[in-house]
């Protein structure tokens, strides 16, 4: 009887160690998986994911879609290496009420941030135009920061027939 009990205890101990082992291996593997993913993301230079980039601009507040912001991008871009982008914002551009910054982002590029433009009332008109590279078909997004601390956004999907990277 006593022997039996001992054996039972031993079995329990074995089970316990088995479980412990299983947990330990999972715990050991999972961080390496997440590290690998992070390393993949950070492979490019100073790369942020698209969501992180938007959060970094707005400070986690999020931006509101607005008709005040007009984003002009061709719907179909034949060559992804040169895609003209124009952003125009309705604003009086006076000392009290002006557009602080215009950010242009490409959602699926390796580094989604393209350019931050910090404007001042001396510009007279809130408009910015440039040419960007797009690796594949994706959304082009603009986030506009106003002087009163609010953020507006506009986006448009662009179809790319020849990618602009590589």
């Amino acid at each position: 009887m006593l022997f039996q009990q001992n054996k039972d205890k031993q079995m329990q101990r074995r089970e316990f160690f088995k479980q412990l082992g299983a947990v330990a291996t999972i715990a050991a593997i999972s961080p390496t998986i997440s590290f690998a993913e992070e390393a993949k993301k950070q492979k490019g230079l100073n790369n942020l994911s698209y969501k992180a980039a938007v959060d970094a601009i707005t400070g986690g507040k999020g931006a509101v879609e607005s008709s005040k912001v007009s984003l002009k991008v061709p719907e179909i871009a034949e060559n992804g290496a040169v895609v003209p982008v124009t952003v125009e914002v309705e604003s009086p551009m006076t000392e009290g009420d002006y557009v602080k910054a215009i950010h242009i982002l490409a959602a699926k590029n390796g580094n989604p941030r393209c350019i931050d433009v910090h404007l001042t009332p001396a510009n007279g008109k809130a408009m910015f135009a440039t040419r960007i590279k797009l690796g594949e078909s994706q959304d082009v997004v603009t986030v506009v920061a106003l002087s009163d601390g609010t953020f507006l956004t506009a986006s448009q999907n662009v179809k790319v027939t020849i990618g602009g990277c590589g």
């Binding site: 490019g44 230079l45 100073n46 290496a81 040169v82 895609v83 490409a106 590029n109 390796g110 580094n111 989604p112 941030r113 393209c114 350019i115 931050d116 433009v117 910090h118 404007l119 001042t120 001396a122 510009n123 007279g124 008109k125 809130a126 408009m127 910015f128 135009a129 440039t130 040419r131 960007i132 590279k133 602009g164 990277c165 590589g166």
Partner: protein
């Protein structure tokens, strides 16, 4: 410090004091992302892109830009500017390898 080809265009060409004009700045720059491979040697081409552009009008910074590698080769930066007296508009730009250049034009309002 290599000399890069760059150009500042102001539209319209003739403008008055207090007018809002369109200013575009073009620069010949490879804007290499650092992800592209050389087709012959199969080696990565190191990144080289403009990371900052500043518009300076009569000693006052009117526009600053933080730039990343997603801009096209030979980029164009177009904004508006309010003419406020004669003087100089200079554009300073630097890239991630530490190259700094400047381009300037004279501002001459008429009337």
């Amino acid at each position: 410090m290599s000399k890069r080809k760059s150009l500042i265009k102001i539209k319209p060409k003739k403008y008055k004091d207090g007018e809002v004009v369109k200013v575009s700045f073009m620069v010949m720059h490879p804007m290499e992302t650092g992800m592209r491979k050389d087709k012959k040697t199969k080696e990565l081409i190191p990144a080289k892109y403009i990371n900052s552009v500043k518009f300076n009008y009569n000693g006052k910074v009117i526009t600053t830009m933080n730039v990343w590698e997603s801009l096209s080769t030979n980029p164009v930066f177009t904004t508006y500017m309010k003419i406020n007296g004669a003087g100089k508009l200079s554009v300073t730009y630097s890239d991630n390898t530490g190259e700094v250049n400047e381009k300037s034009t004279k501002i001459k309002p008429k009337g």
